[in-house]
Structure formats: structure tokens, C-alpha cells
């Protein structure tokens, strides 16, 4: 998706994330990585591969198996001036650390009137589509987005994975960095050195169309782009907006894209009910009310616990369900 640049190479999103971590650790000795299996093993997804070898076991730290302990320890490190990057092994294993996240990480700057900043990056492989057993495919972005004090970002491209991770580590606020695990092995041409670090908080229009606008993020971005291609056959020319940042929200880009078409569909993997898509739909409905020719629809996971591998394809929003929603955008009017 990025245009070829000097010294570009084809890499996977996993490699881009690894490159980002390595670069940040080389440039700033205050950056350190901690989590379960991040050291010797390089993480179960190999995102931290080679970091312990290059930076030592104390800067790429295999911790005991306790997520509250990991995040709580990171808080103390950050209080002392380090910039910890925490790896949570899977989405559902953030939950044991929820109190640390909500009651400390999110609130520390506020409760100390700005005296303590917590530049912590919390990397969370999230989402489904990889045939994981239960507790390995959750999309928990809504919990984080509803917690003031956290930034929440999620890349959909190899380049953004690198850039947003560098931006997250550079941020003086805690960032929940959601990595769409089924895009780990997606590939793209990409030159880490040439690629500017995108500021956190900016959405990007991945495709401009005139008929309707798909609003999405993370693992659903490629699905929406595919749907937009398929929609051509129906005579629909779809815009696709990749939010990238759930907090802060890029109202400007999103509203402009919706007003331009007057129709919008929100797409994400998480269960729809009180999901992040509700916020998108509510905002857009409020802010673009008089531009809307049809209600904003949502295509999301069902309101069920994440299903077992053999059924997950029915749960995940796919091209067909997206096109079906587009078809329901009251074209007859």
C-alpha cells in the first residue's frame, strides 16, 4: 500500500514491528521491553526476536507469568524515567492487568496533576481469524477506548505498524497498541528510514469513492478494501477510512469522508453491542446528521463470546456482510 521508496524492502508486519522496537531501543537506552517469553524466545509471535541478544536480558526482560505484575512493574519503571514497552501475550490476557491499566496507567498523569507521566506502550496482539482457541481472539478495543487517559491505536499496514509503534514509544502518554494478529504475516514494501512517523490521532483515507464510506480499522481494513473492490461490480464506489487511532479520534477526516458520500457503514470485528463502532456511528450520526441519506449501519462481530475456530468465519465481518449493509443504505430514495 505504500509507494516504493529508496532502500525499501518487502517485509511482514511482524518484521516491521520488530524493526520499530529495535530502532527505538538503539536510539534511546531508556526504552525497554518486558513480558512473557519476550526474551530468549522472542515472543510467541517473534515480534521481539533478537532483542534480548542485542540489548541484553535486562532490557528485553522475560518476566514471571503475571500480567498485573508486568504492567504494574512497567508503571514503576516509567515513574523512574524509562519507556517500557509491554507485550501482552494475547488479547484476553490483558484482563488480569485491567485494574493496573484503568486505575493507574490511565489515571496517573491526571491524578498527579501532570507530575508523573507514564510513557508506556502496551502491545496487544488482538482479534481473530487465526484459528485460535478460546481467549485468544478477543477484540477488546472498546474497553480501552472508553478509559480516559489511554491512547488507543491499531495499524492496518506494514508501514503504519512501524510508524505507529515508533510514535507510541515516543509518546509521553500510555498507548494501547493493538496489533491485528491475522495481519502479522501480511507483507508490503516498506523503508523504515524513509517512512515518516505518523502522528497519533490521524485517520487515513485508503480509498476514495463517491457512493458510501466504510469506516474501519485494524484487521478489518483489508476486508473493507476487498469489499470496495467487489462493490464496483454493483456500481458502488466506496470510500474506505482507516481510523488507525481510536483515541484520539480524527473527527475531521472521518466527518469529511462521510459528508462526501452521505452514507456510511462502520466495520469491526468486536461484538457490536456497546462496541467501538457504536461510538463511531453515534458521532457520525450526530455530526453529519443533515448530510446523511441513510442511517449509519454497523457490521460487526455478533454479541457472543468469540466462537471456536471452526465457526469464526461466521462471526467475522466479511465482504458479503459488508456489501449487504451497503445494499441496505436506502439507495431507492
Amino acid at each position: 500500500m505504500t509507494s516504493p521508496a529508496t532502500n525499501a524492502a518487502t517485509m511482514t508486519m511482524a518484521q516491521a514491528l520488530n524493526t520499530a522496537l529495535r530502532g527505538a531501543m538503539r536510539e534511546d537506552r531508556d526504552v525497554l521491553v518486558l513480558g512473557e517469553d519476550v526474551g530468549t524466545l522472542g515472543g510467541v509471535f517473534r515480534i521481539t526476536d533478537g532483542l534480548a541478544a542485542e540489548f541484553g536480558a535486562r532490557r528485553c526482560l522475560d518476566t514471571p507469568l503475571a500480567e498485573a505484575g508486568i504492567l504494574g512493574t512497567a508503571v514503576g519503571m516509567a515513574m523512574y524515567g524509562l519507556r517500557p514497552v509491554v507485550e501482552m501475550q494475547f488479547d484476553a490476557f490483558v484482563y488480569p492487568a485491567f485494574e493496573q491499566l484503568v486505575s493507574h496507567v490511565a489515571k496517573m498523569r491526571n491524578r498527579t496533576a501532570g507530575r508523573i507521566a507514564l510513557p508506556i506502550t502496551i502491545r496487544v496482539p488482538y482479534g481473530g481469524g487465526i484459528g485460535g482457541v478460546e481467549h485468544h481472539s478477543d477484540s477488546s478495543e472498546s474497553y480501552y477506548a472508553h478509559t480516559p487517559g489511554l491512547h488507543v491505536v491499531t495499524p492496518a499496514t506494514v508501514g503504519d505498524a512501524h510508524g505507529l509503534l515508533r510514535a507510541a514509544i515516543a509518546s509521553n502518554d500510555p498507548v494501547v497498541f493493538l496489533e491485528p494478529k491475522r495481519l502479522y504475516w501480511s507483507k508490503d514494501e516498506f523503508a523504515p528510514t524513509d517512512t515518516p512517523v505518523p502522528p497519533i490521532g490521524r485517520a487515513v483515507v485508503r480509498r476514495t469513492g463517491a457512493s458510501a464510506t466504510l469506516l474501519t480499522y485494524g484487521p478489518s481494513v483489508p476486508v473493507c478494501l476487498e469489499a470496495a473492490e467487489a462493490a464496483k461490480a454493483e456500481g458502488w464506489d466506496l470510500s474506505v477510512v482507516d481510523l488507525r487511532s481510536l483515541v484520539p479520534f480524527d473527527d475531521e477526516t472521518v466527518c469529511a469522508a462521510v459528508r462526501a458520500t452521505g452514507r456510511a457503514v462502520v466495520v469491526h470485528e468486536a461484538s457490536g453491542y456497546a462496541g467501538f463502532g457504536a461510538e463511531i456511528a453515534a458521532r457520525v450520526s450526530e455530526r453529519c446528521f443533515h448530510h446523511l441519506a441513510a442511517p449509519v449501519l454497523r457490521v460487526t462481530g455478533f454479541d457472543i463470546p468469540y466462537p471456536p475456530p471452526m465457526l469464526e468465519r461466521h462471526h467475522l465481518p466479511g465482504v458479503d456482510r459488508i456489501l449487504d449493509a451497503v445494499a441496505r443504505l436506502q439507495w431507492e430514495q
Partner: protein
């Protein structure tokens, strides 16, 4: 009898004059060396049938692990965390419990479930991927496999407490890994069990690793069994590759709990001979020499050697056990031969006792899509509902 008996005497607070320990820590501490039977003189006294039974179960267990691993290679199982090398622990967890007792396994413990009577295909459903839990927990009193580590430990406490409240004779056993002992839930469960005097046995299978993380990075305790004293309960240390020792220590612990003497923490020292799962590359974090050293202490080898040395097993016995194991393997292959076809609409059936109106709407949507799909919707936008 228990600390929280309604009729209990006024609660004890340390008074200025009586500050010493509220209980003597000495009896709570584990033996300095893991308890062993096989290879010791005491082993000669062991019941021959018990040992032969354990042997047959071990052989079955090993074959079970092999077959399940093979099924992953054939794509019949999505993933399998083998308990190869830990079979003595898995099996003793079953032999030490009565039918009326409950087992709370962790994700690696399908063999323990199978040893309690759960059918392999049902125990492995989670790992095949057609459903989250394939067996009825009430049938053999085996809680669903717990993937979030140590989170099932408090469930064991609550269930044991509930049984006690109703006056039912029941012990709950929770299985946790060495890594799992670091989780807050492990701590809270032990503390609750101790304070409530709930009949629970916590079995920690210390197999040296939590995926790639060795015990030395997990805990600095003298032994994991030493954690018991911090809760005021008994700690036991046992050789997890000695099936006889495992059976004895767990049986004693279960009876200790059953008789109202309080929960027990058992650490079984063992080793995971296979990788974490079939998807793991164990050579990244441990040496072939280390694995070889433990292979020499394989629970099956250790027991077989003992039985042969004491004239309790001959080639016929070995062949018989192997045959039973082959039957199990064949049954597993047969069960896994066909692909399950879970019903997509089952997604909505067990979220609540009754589906909410929201779920009914969503089920109707999915039904419509499935129907359109089956009917073969127009090609431009295939499968789309019109």
C-alpha cells in the same frame, strides 16, 4: 470446626501478650527432598496391583500424547499441548480422587480429564476447534479446561466450599503449572481455601518451564511447595516422574483435605519432554542435553524398570498394555477421522439461558445469509442477501 463456623468463638486478634505465630509453621513445610518411592526400599512394600494399574495407565497416557500429537500433524487438531513426560502427574490426579470429587484442569491437562473418564474426542474438542469445551463437566466432575492460567483455582475453592456448606463429602483438585503459580489468582485461591478451610488440593506440575521461561525466572522460592506456609497450609514436594510417589502423595493430600484438615499444596517436580505445543520450537530455549537427562528419568521407564526388577511385569504384560494403548489410539483416529460440522446457528444458543431479542435478530440475520449462500446468490456479489 472451621474458622468461620457460625458458632465460632470471638475472633482471635493478636494481643500484646500473645504475639507469637498463630500456628506452628514447622509441620507445614515440605520435605527438603521430593518424596520418592520407586527405587527406594519402601517400594518393595507397594501393592503390586496398584503399580501394574499405574503402569497400564502410563502406557495409555503416553500413547494418548503421541496420538494427539500425530493428529496435529494431520491437521485433525488445531494445536496440542502434550503432557509427555508428565503422565505420572496427570494420571495420579485421577487415581487419587474419588468419583464424587472434582478435578479442575489447566489447558495442558486433557490426559487427567481422560484418566477420569472423559472421552478423548471430547477432551480434545477445544483443541480441534469445533467447540470450546467438548464434555459435560458434570458427567465426570471435570471442570472445563482452563486456558487463562490459574483462573480455575478459585473455582475449585468455591465448589469445595459449596459442597462443605451442603454437607457433601467432596474434594476438589486444581491443576496449575509452575508458571501459573505467579498469577494473582493462584495466590487468592490458596488464601481463600486456607481461610475457608475448604477441601482443596492444589497440584503444581513444575515442569521447569512456562513456555520458554525457566523456573529460575519464575520464582526464587526454595521450592514452590514452600509457598504453602504463607497460607498456613501443608506443602508437599514429590517426584512427579515417580507414579507411585505421585499416587501416594496425592491420595494422602486428598484424604487430608477430605478429613477437614485443610487444603494442601503439592509440588510435583517433572519435565515437559515435548515442546510447549506442536507450534513451539523448544530448541530456542533448552539444550538437547537437558532434555536427554530428563528422558533418562521418564516416568514410564522408571516404573517399568521397577516392575521388571521386582518381577511384577513381563513381556506379556508389556504387550497387553501396548495393545490397550493401540486400541485407544485407533479409537482416537477413528473419532477424528471425520470433520465435525458445528452448526453456525449454535453460536447464539448458549450465550444466555434465553437469547435476548438482540441475539434473536442476529441469529435471523445469520440464517438469512446462510440461506442466501446455500441458494447460490448472484455472482457479482456472491452470498450477499438481497
Amino acid at each position: 470446626m472451621t474458622l468461620l463456623d457460625d458458632s465460632s468463638t470471638p475472633v482471635l486478634v493478636w494481643t500484646p501478650g500473645a504475639h507469637g505465630p498463630r500456628r506452628d509453621p514447622a509441620p507445614l513445610l515440605p520435605d527438603p527432598e521430593p518424596f520418592r518411592m520407586l527405587g527406594t526400599e519402601a517400594a518393595a512394600e507397594l501393592d503390586a496391583d496398584l503399580l501394574r494399574g499405574l503402569y497400564r495407565r502410563l502406557v495409555l497416557g503416553r500413547r494418548y500424547n503421541q496420538q494427539a500429537t500425530t493428529l496435529t500433524k494431520q491437521g485433525r487438531l488445531a494445536v496440542y499441548p502434550a503432557s509427555t513426560g508428565q503422565e505420572a502427574c496427570e494420571i495420579a490426579a485421577a487415581t487419587a480422587l474419588r468419583e464424587t470429587d472434582w478435578l479442575f484442569p489447566s489447558y495442558r491437562d486433557t490426559l487427567a480429564a481422560v484418566s477420569r473418564g472423559v472421552r478423548p474426542v471430547e477432551a480434545l474438542t477445544l483443541l480441534r476447534g469445533d467447540a470450546h469445551s467438548g464434555y459435560d463437566p458434570y458427567e465426570h466432575r471435570v471442570a472445563p479446561l482452563s486456558t487463562p492460567l490459574a483462573t480455575q483455582a478459585p473455582h475449585a475453592v468455591g465448589l469445595a466450599y459449596a459442597a462443605q456448606l451442603r454437607g457433601d463429602d467432596l474434594v476438589a483438585m486444581a491443576l496449575v503449572g509452575d508458571g501459573g503459580t505467579s498469577e494473582g489468582d493462584f495466590h487468592e485461591a490458596l488464601n481463600f481455601a486456607a481461610v475457608l478451610n475448604a477441601p482443596v488440593v492444589f497440584l503444581v506440575q513444575n515442569n521447569g518451564y512456562a513456555i520458554s521461561v525457566p523456573l529460575a525466572k519464575q520464582s526464587a522460592a526454595p521450592t514452590l511447595a514452600h509457598k504453602a506456609v504463607g497460607y498456613g497450609i501443608s506443602g508437599r514436594l514429590v517426584d512427579g516422574n515417580d507414579a507411585a510417589a505421585m499416587h501416594i502423595v496425592l491420595s494422602e493430600s486428598v484424604e487430608h483435605a477430605r478429613s477437614g484438615c485443610g487444603p494442601v499444596l503439592v509440588e510435583a517436580v517433572t519435565y515437559r519432554l515435548d515442546a510447549h505445543t506442536n507450534a513451539d520450537d523448544a530448541t530456542r530455549y533448552r539444550s538437547p542435553e537437558e532434555v536427554a537427562a530428563w528422558q533418562a528419568h521418564d516416568p514410564l521407564t522408571v516404573l517399568e524398570r521397577h516392575l521388571r526388577e521386582h518381577g511384577l511385569l513381563d513381556d506379556t504384560g508389556v504387550a497387553e498394555a501396548a495393545e490397550a494403548a493401540e486400541e485407544l489410539a485407533a479409537e482416537m483416529r477413528a473419532e477424528f477421522h471425520t470433520d465435525p460440522l458445528p452448526d453456525p446457528l449454535s453460536l447464539f444458543t448458549h450465550v444466555y439461558a434465553e437469547p435476548t431479542s438482540q441475539l434473536r435478530e442476529q441469529a435471523a440475520e445469520l440464517r438469512a445469509w446462510l440461506t442466501a449462500d446455500a441458494a447460490g446468490a448472484p455472482t457479482a456479489v456472491p452470498k450477499r442477501r438481497r
